[in-house]
């Protein structure tokens, strides 16, 4: 029996930015069950101001938020030379918007409610790209 299991690989940090409280509460737990580390933020501004921007490997991002919107954060991060992949999530089912976001570099845009299969697929896509 091994005495200890040394974790040699640090779990990748997935950051969640969404103004909806139930998303911030539920999504990180599921991400951790997937084997990721997770942090949640209620706004784009809060995320940008945090220490986690540099360590984020993938960002799950709400589209419509009071204050800076998801797409605005995407542009801001690009300007700051952050290259981590972005998976958008939204309750507004708008195919045109989804197309637009994918064309502008998003890995995926999931419509709420999304099941874990769709989420996992998006995350795998994202981290493969990275």
């Amino acid at each position: 029996m091994s005495i200890e299991a040394v974790q040699t690989v640090k779990p990748s940090l997935v950051s969640v930015v969404d103004d909806d409280e139930s998303v911030r509460e539920s999504l990180p737990d599921l991400l951790r069950e997937f084997g990721f580390a997770a942090e949640a933020f209620s706004s784009a501004e809060a995320f940008l101001a945090s220490d986690f921007v540099d360590h984020t490997r993938c960002l799950i991002l709400d589209i419509a938020m009071p204050g800076m919107s998801g797409p605005e954060l995407q542009r801001e991060l690009a300007q700051r030379r952050h290259a981590f992949p972005i998976v958008f999530i939204t309750a507004h089912k708008d195919e045109a918007m989804r197309r637009h976001l994918l064309d502008h570099g998003a890995v995926e845009c999931l419509f709420k409610p999304f099941n874990e299969t769709a989420l996992l697929a998006a995350l795998h896509s994202a981290l493969r790209v990275n």
């Binding site: 599921l30 709420k112 874990e116």
Partner: protein, 307 residues
């Protein structure tokens, strides 16, 4: 001023350059120790911009509230979908997490309990959305009861008092004494009277050269009926418009939605009555009247009892 009381008035005046603008005048008496009025102080404020803005806002409000009643199904569906998607998303995420936690070795029961709790909370959230929607669109069961049209007319006029004053409407009520009551939904009948009064107000909106006379009259009608009339001194209408007046969505108001008269007519007809319009015989303007069957007269009943 004759009574020596302070007074506020909004009125139009011709400015030095010939332009008419809205002003607000406040006058207050200044009294000596004996209580005699020594002089009057007046303050004149140009409120024209403010009035324009208020009028524009009120118009928008009216348009919006009519429009909201007829909100498109598509827009409504999108809102509902959005409101319910959020808690559903939480439910799905939490339930997925729950299964994984229970499948772990050893199972994370604490965690699973927490996700189950959140799931219940999100389901309640979704349920609240539905409750709110139901409340929003519920057709409240109308209450029918004996209704005194005089009382109802007075109540509506009282409610509109400020608006009537602001628009310098000379409102007069000639209400028949001992008007027998009708049987119906008081709230709906209020709506009809309100609609007729607002239409009268609207019709006299542009009127400047004559007094804005508004008359609300109740009277008995042959055949055990009562009649309520709202007569204005406004722009009136010609015979060709008469046919269309009561059509839903017909309107002479720019940007208005014109459902008022059509709905009013259907309310009156549901009360076994009629609603109609007549141009004024003397002078400009029109009269809108509705007649309804009334409840048996108390007087009449005692009269029949006697013999």
């Amino acid at each position: 001023m004759a009574r020596g009381e302070a007074m506020d008035v909004e009125h139009r005046m011709r400015r030095f350059d010939g332009v008419y603008r809205w002003f607000h005048t406040r006058v207050e008496p200044f009294r000596d120790e004996a209580g005699n009025i020594v002089r009057w102080y007046g303050l004149l404020t140009d409120i024209d911009e403010q009035r324009r803005v208020e009028d524009a806002l009120r118009q928008r409000e009216q348009q919006l509230s009519s429009a909201m009643q007829i909100a498109t199904v598509a827009q409504l569906s999108a809102s509902i979908a959005h409101e319910i998607s959020q808690p559903l998303s939480g439910i799905l995420t939490n339930a997925s997490t729950c299964l994984r936690m229970l499948a772990a070795d050893p199972p994370n029961v604490e965690g699973a309990i927490e996700t189950a709790r959140r799931t219940i909370r999100d389901a309640n959230r979704a349920s609240d959305v539905i409750t709110r929607l139901r409340a929003l669109f519920a057709r409240k069961e109308g209450m029918t009861e004996p209704v005194d049209l005089n009382e109802t007319a007075r109540a509506v006029m009282a409610m509109l008092h400020n608006q009537l004053q602001r628009n310098r409407i000379l409102a007069r009520a000639e209400l028949c004494e001992d008007l027998p009551r009708v049987f119906g939904d008081r709230v709906q009948l209020e709506q009809v009277i309100l609609n007729l009064l607002l239409n009268a107000l609207e019709a006299m909106n542009g009127v400047d050269e004559r007094p804005k006379q508004l008359l609300v009259k109740t009277e008995r009608e042959e055949g055990d009926r009562v009649r309520l009339t709202v007569q204005d001194a406004g722009t009136g209408f010609d015979d060709s418009a008469l046919d269309k007046l009561f059509d839903a969505f017909y309107t002479t108001k720019s940007g208005g939605m014109g459902v008022g008269l059509a709905v009013s007519r259907s309310i009156i007809e549901n009360h076994h009555g009629q609603l109609w319009a007549t141009p004024n015989q003397q002078g400009p303007g029109a009269a809108f009247s509705f007649s309804l069957p009334h409840l048996p007269d108390v007087n009449q009943m005692s009269a029949t009892h006697v013999h």
